[in-house]
């Protein structure tokens, strides 16, 4: 894909478009096409002053995308435009001819003129509104209603109707809808069945495209007032944009960081902060030395740490009155030096301070459950020193820490004879590393042989008690160092066929193997589970990480399936996702039963390259979502007395970094800008096009 040259694309591209776009010279040509397409296809007719102008390019780009859906007709003859009654002819016009609904050949196709300047984005936006239903009937809270118009930055107009006047209202609404086509979305709102409060006399509701704006309830007795309302609104917006130097495209001032936005929207909620102790420069040392404390270091202005503060407070609520551990917090925006002294320079950080021990940083997920687990498992020392065989048996059976085994599905007991001091130290050290993750214990009494004999293992050794399965494994530990022991225990914590969740996926991704995922709506079918476990046992799945995902527990799984499948077959679904090399996704045929044989056969075919992937995950780099203000050019412009340019073209030649990114064709396209072939100017504005080109290139390779 990557060796696709720009030129190849553009040559190929023009050849393709040659058939898509009809060039016409006379009004007669236009009428012929119009007549031929009545009842069949809508027409996208455009006038451009000359071939090769930016407007021409914009039309061609649109034709590339929509050419199979609409007949694109292009002219450079101004006379044609005059004859269809256009006034104020400037350098370009774009019309949409609604020919498809026309059944009577004598009837003319309705025409809608695009009023915005001819750019790729505007055409795209315009066509999208042409595709949208002319009039939609709704019976829900207008504040909640969203249509394609809002996404395109256009307002919505609701005509409020009652059962009694429905017919007349609908006629009015349709009429308004035609007038506002391409400028706003028009909906008919049936208020009778509506629970939301609408002012008694309001007959029109106006909803702006800007997020967070309340809907306006209006009383308008003249249809023209509705139209002018919308037009003045768009006009206002346009003049604003013009004032802002013709800024087109997305608004850089709109928050697109989900954490920042959600924290901001939640800013007025009162958190029960009183359940955590706020520490200051004066109280910090005294507090953390006086009692075992958990400290959250955060910064009031940093969204991520404020989001986590909520989980932290949730933990405090859950632990209220049950824990000896003091939950505290330091706002580093206020107590900067305290944080620096504690070596905290990033936010958020959680540290546990215990008497006589070095503070331990929490390294788990920033969420309530995981932090709770860390706190609970920290109640016991790590490892716990067991002093009797009976104690060891209770430890292994889970009796000893009954209330903790929900947080640690495995208990690890190190067995050493009293003379094995080094091995024991290594284990103890490893235990400290795993503090808060797993329950560990150590047994090194004289009678340790009772245990090692019972579990048939030579000393030094580990006993792993899996509480859920009620199984105890034994692992010899000869010459293992701290890191080895940590590794052994961490691996032991992994399950052979886990239910994958948001929390545990990272631990399984570390294995760097392709995932074999069974998507299930609810709990897993026991037969499927059995089939996979059998394959695991027979070592057929060693090169994969088999797991399953419960859509009910992890609803985001739906989002994943929507990426994998164009049309979604019923669940359960089995897929192999090759995340780490290539990104291919293979789907187990949904018409086959999930049996050992079928699965094995299919996996072999996948492995042999005989199956074709249902999709390939994009390998795109994460680029800036939007451009930044180019203050440097604004300053230059001011210095040279030229009007400043507000938005930079995203990647200037000098901005192209040396990494070999994913879209060399796009970059080279930008570099060659002046040569005048069809190109993308702003990737951020016409990403839809970039995506299209990519899949296009891929298709071509296959041919």
């Amino acid at each position: 894909m990557s060796d696709f040259s720009t030129n190849y694309i553009s040559i190929y591209f023009s050849a393709l478009l040659f058939n898509e776009v009809k060039y016409i010279n006379t009004l007669g040509d236009l009428q012929n096409i119009e007549n031929a397409l009545k009842g069949k296809t809508n027409i996208a007719f455009s006038y451009v002053r000359a071939i090769g102008t930016p407007e021409h390019r914009a039309v061609m780009e649109a034709a590339f995308v929509y050419g199979t859906t609409y007949q694109f007709v292009l002219t450079t003859e101004i006379a044609i435009l005059e004859s269809i009654g256009t006034e104020d002819i400037e350098y370009a016009h774009f019309y949409f001819f609604h020919c498809k609904p026309v059944s009577d050949l004598t009837q003319q196709c309705r025409r809608t003129l695009m009023e915005q300047p001819l750019t790729t984005l505007n055409i795209h936006r315009f066509i999208k509104t042409m595709e949208a239903p002319l009039l939609t009937e709704v019976a829900e809270d207008p504040q909640q209603v969203s249509t394609v118009h809002l996404q395109l930055g256009l307002p919505l107009v609701f005509i409020v109707s009652r059962q009694a006047t429905y017919e007349a209202d609908r006629t009015t609404a349709e009429w308004v809808a035609w007038r506002l086509l391409g400028k706003a979305g028009v909906l008919l709102l049936l208020r009778d069945s509506l629970e939301v409060d609408i002012p008694e006399h309001a007959n029109v509701i106006f909803k702006r495209a800007e997020e967070g704006m309340p809907v306006e309830f209006l009383v308008l007795h003249d249809i023209d007032l509705i139209i002018s309302r919308v037009e003045s609104n768009t006009h206002m917006k346009e003049t604003q944009e013009y004032e802002d130097n013709d800024m087109e495209g997305p608004d850089m001032d709109i928050q697109d960081d989900e954490v920042a936005e959600t924290v901001y929207r939640d800013r007025k909620r009162q958190l029960p902060l009183e359940l955590t102790v706020e520490l200051t420069e004066e109280t910090f040392n005294a507090t953390v030395t006086a009692s075992d404390s958990l400290v959250l270091f955060y910064a009031g202005w940093q969204a991520v740490s404020m989001a986590f503060l909520q989980s932290y407070v949730d933990v405090a609520v859950k632990l209220k009155g049950t824990s000896t551990l003091l939950l505290t917090r330091v706002n580093c925006a206020d107590w900067s030096y305290v944080c620096t002294k504690q070596n905290v320079t990033d936010f958020p950080v959680v540290k546990m301070y215990k008497e006589g021990e070095n503070p331990v940083s929490y390294a788990g997920m920033l969420g309530t459950e995981e932090l709770l687990k860390f706190i609970q498992l920290n109640r016991i020392s790590c490892p716990v020193n067991i002093t009797s065989v009976q104690g060891a048996e209770e430890f292994l059976s889970g009796e000893l820490y009954k209330d903790l085994i929900t947080y640690s599905r495995v208990s690890v007991l190190g067995l050493f004879s009293p003379t094995m001091t080094t091995a024991k130290e290594e284990f103890t050290e490893a235990g400290k590393h795993l503090k808060g993750c797993v329950i560990t214990g150590v047994y090194s009494e004289e009678d340790v042989l009772i245990l090692s004999d019972k579990h048939a293992v030579t000393l030094p050794a580990l006993l792993l008690a899996r509480h859920q399965e009620g199984k105890i494994e034994s692992i010899p530990l000869a010459n293992a160092h701290v890191q080895d022991i940590v590794q052994i225990i961490t691996n032991a914590l992994l399950e052979t066929f886990p239910e994958i969740t948001v929390e545990n996926l990272p631990t399984y991704l570390r294995l760097k193997k392709p995932l074999l995922i069974l998507f299930s709506d609810g709990s897993i079918n026991p037969q499927h589970k059995k089939a996979i476990l059998t394959l695991v046992k027979e070592k057929h799945l060693d090169s994969l990480t088999p797991c399953w995902l419960n859509i009910k527990n992890t609803p985001v799984g739906r989002g994943i399936l929507q990426v994998y499948f164009d049309a979604l077959p019923p669940l359960p679904l089995l897929v192999v996702v090759n995340l780490h090399s290539g990104g291919q996704v293979f789907a187990f045929p949904s018409d086959q039963a999930v049996s050992e044989q079928n699965l094995l056969l299919w996996l072999k075919k996948v492995e042999a390259g005989l199956e074709s992937p249902i999709t390939i995950l994009p390998a795109q780099e994460w680029k800036p979502p939007l451009p930044a203000y180019d203050f440097l050019s604004m300053m230059d412009a001011a210095a040279s007395q030229h009007p400043p340019k507000k938005i930079p073209e995203c990647m200037k030649e000098t901005d192209v970094q040396e990494n070999d990114g994913e879209q060399p064709e796009e970059k080279s396209a930008i570099r060659n800008e002046p040569t005048g072939t069809l190109r993308i100017k702003h990737w951020s504005r016409s990403n839809w096009f970039g995506e299209a080109k990519k899949s296009f290139a891929y298709d071509n390779k296959e041919l």
Binding site: W335, P506, P555
Partner: protein, 690 residues
């Protein structure tokens, strides 16, 4: 400043005597060669700058000594300012707990780890008394146990070449008793100790600021002429304004008001009572003329007349016969006779103790009163000689605060950091962060850092990017004009690009003739941030470390060479740059576009989705979620996310098998709010046509 203070009444003659004595002194010190004490670091002067340096040397455990000719520290303040009111503000309340931030409004404290050694514990006055400063400095030296040799006047400093020395030479200091000290590094913190005198005929009739009476009674019913237009001139005028007939002030250039120039050394509003009475037609007045053209003539009644030097040279006449300007132009402004003329022309650095071999020359860009130093405060003439404190102000004279305690406490620290790297292999302190913390690290500093705020456009923070921009190092308060030498000065590597974080006033905002109160002076829109006028953060991005040439030939009025990209955080009335959309969002976009990556933060669920639907993850997910440190979020946050459209409520997604693939993860790379799904179907069609 320290050296000056023991001086009794400086008369012009006294000064001349001192200067004349110097050749003799140097001869004597050359003879007194014998036992020599060695110190790695010698600090000259126990004023604020000397003590500040001593503190850092002490904390680093270095071999050093401080010389002070007075019996105690800060002796300048025992006498000056004459009217005892310090112009440096002692703001004890800011409404904030952040101690670093509060230093922004504490212009008197030195830096130390001891919160008791803050000036607010020494005075409750907003403009404190100079006596409190003396008391504060004494406590600072005593409580921290700084070794100062008091009553030790270094009379002569010379250079002794020695290949074993750190800098290829030692500095040899000789005190008044002939005792010699050998120093590897010399830190000169002697302040400006010599009153500035302009030589013109009649200058002997002039009272100096340093010795003129401060008792208003002595000026009752007098016509007073004050030479100079700085704070000492106005301070002197203020004191006698109510008892004189009138006061005229004469200086070469127009008055510079600090609130117009944003330079604390210019005339402060607290002293400008005379401007008020002048403009309100109360007989007082300001005049501009070059003093070197003037002459003062004393008549028989002992009154003083102003004339031009030019007339005196014409003919050698008796006092009464000398031509006065009013003889030719009868409305000459200064045609009245004065009872008194007072000189308030500021201070000069005392060059006299430094031997020629040190090549410590005078003459900065604007003024000859300071020794010439590099932007690293090292003398241009001899390596290893650094000028600290007020005397180091040539670097930012009339620009920033380097001549004042609240500024030079930071430049002294910068010099100390440089020395630690140069002689002890201790690299410039820095913190390491993952790239996802970049905006956060910058926001933290611009909101609290005092060094950046006081020493705007002189000291700047530097972010050094690591390979592939996955991590960065943060260095604080680096002398920005030394940027080209950053690697050798700091011992840190700058191979993968860097950001420089500076604070700046608007380019054409400050100046003696500027109206800083013009309507619409403040900028509120993020896209106009570059036009911000008040002090605001500016971030420069360089793909490569600039060269010395580039720094030297930087554009006029620019503190740094032209960067690859620049960002201004819009000025803020509260100097609180933490607004999510107004301040942080544009900064993130800037950083993202410089680094060509996506620096947004994501909840764990989004990272989970990306991890299973994309081959690459955004840095936040890579550095957080994938390392099992994802941000889980809470239900109420998720609700907000769904309402904002940034998160999808998958639980509520209609579940019809056969649903056509909607584009998920609308936050994907290159996402734009209006992005529709890629029209893949169309291309299947195209394929067939091929």
């Amino acid at each position: 400043m320290g050296l000056s203070a023991a001086a009794p009444l400086w008369g012009p003659l006294g000064l001349l005597l001192t200067v004349a004595l110097h050749p003799a002194l140097s001869l004597r010190s050359a003879r007194a060669w014998a036992p020599r004490h060695h110190r790695d670091y010698c600090v000259l002067g126990a004023g604020p700058a000397g003590l500040q340096m001593a503190y850092f040397l002490q904390r680093a455990g270095r071999d050093y000594v401080v010389f002070e000719r007075a019996p105690g520290p800060g002796s300048f303040f025992t006498r000056f300012p004459r009217h005892r009111k310090l112009l440096s503000i002692n703001k004890r309340y800011t409404g904030k707990a952040n101690a670093e931030f509060n230093l922004r409004h504490d212009w008197n404290s030195l830096l130390s780890h001891d919160p008791q050694l803050l000036f607010r514990h020494y005075s409750s006055a907003y403009f404190p008394d100079a006596g409190d400063m003396v008391r504060y400095l004494r406590d600072f030296a005593d409580k921290l146990g700084l070794p100062v040799l008091y009553n030790t006047t270094i009379a002569h400093v010379t250079l002794n070449k020695d290949r074993r020395a750190w800098n290829g030479h030692y500095f040899i200091l000789t005190d008044q008793k002939g005792q010699a000290y050998q120093c590897s590094v010399l830190l000169v913190a002697t302040g400006l100790s010599v009153p500035n005198q302009v030589d013109f005929p009649g200058s002997e009739y002039v009272d100096g600021y340093e010795s003129v009476s401060v008792d208003p009674e002595d000026f009752v019913g007098q016509n007073v002429l004050i030479l100079g237009r700085g704070n000492s001139a106005f301070e002197t005028a203020e004191n006698i304004l109510g008892v004189t007939n009138f006061i005229h002030m004469l200086s070469r250039s127009r008055v510079r008001l600090s609130w117009a120039t944003h330079y604390v050394g210019d005339l402060r509003a607290i002293n400008n009572g005379l401007l008020d009475t002048y403009q309100l037609k109360s007989l007082d007045g300001l005049l501009e003329s070059d003093l070197t053209d003037l002459a003062i003539v004393k008549d028989r009644q002992g009154k003083f007349h102003i004339t031009l030097k030019f007339f005196l040279e014409e003919n050698n006449q008796s006092a009464d016969a000398i031509t006065l300007p009013q003889d030719e132009s009868d409305n000459f402004a200064m045609r009245v006779a004065y009872d008194r003329v007072i000189r308030c022309l500021g201070w000069n650095f005392n060059f006299s103790i430094f031997s020629k071999s040190l090549r410590l020359s005078s003459g900065g860009e604007f003024s000859k009163k300071y020794p010439l130093v590099r932007a690293s405060y090292e003398s241009k003439g001899s390596r290893g000689l650094f000028v600290l404190g007020t005397a180091s102000h040539s670097v930012d004279y009339r620009k920033s605060a380097g001549g004042f305690i609240h500024g030079f406490r930071y430049t002294v620290r910068a010099v100390h950091r440089l020395l630690e790297q140069r002689h002890h292999d201790v690299p410039w302190p820095s913190t390491q962060h993952p790239i996802t913390q970049l905006a956060s690290a910058i926001i933290r500093r611009v909101n609290e850092a005092s060094g950046l705020y006081q020493m705007f456009s002189v000291l700047a923070d530097v972010v050094l990017l690591k390979e592939n921009a996955t991590a960065f190092e943060y260095l604080e308060e680096f002398p920005m004009r030394m940027l080209a030498q950053l690697e050798s000065i700091t011992g840190r590597q700058a191979r993968h690009g860097l950001f420089v974080i500076n604070m700046e006033y608007g380019k054409n905002f400050s100046g003696p003739d500027k109206d800083v109160f013009f309507y619409d002076r403040s900028v509120g829109h993020t896209e106009d941030a570059w036009q911000s006028n008040f002090l605001h953060p500016v971030i420069y991005y360089y793909r490569h470390l600039p060269t010395e040439q580039e720094v030297r030939f930087r554009p006029a009025d620019w503190p740094l060479p032209r960067p690859t990209a620049i960002h201004h955080i819009v000025e803020d009335f509260l100097t609180d740059w933490t607004a999510p959309v107004g301040h942080i969002l544009p900064l993130r976009r800037f950083l993202e576009n410089c680094l060509d990556t996506d620096l947004r933060s994501f909840y764990a669920e989004s990272c989970f989705l990306f991890a299973l639907t994309r081959q690459k993850l955004p840095p936040f997910c890579q550095q957080g979620y994938l390392r099992t440190q994802g941000l889980m979020g809470t239900e109420s946050l998720r609700q907000h996310g769904v309402e904002s459209g940034l998160l999808r409520d998958y639980a509520a997604v209609g579940w019809r098998p056969g649903d056509s693939g909607q584009q998920p993860g609308s936050q994907g790379p290159g996402r734009q709010p209006l992005a529709p799904g890629p029209p893949i179907q169309h291309f299947d069609g195209n394929k067939e046509e091929l």
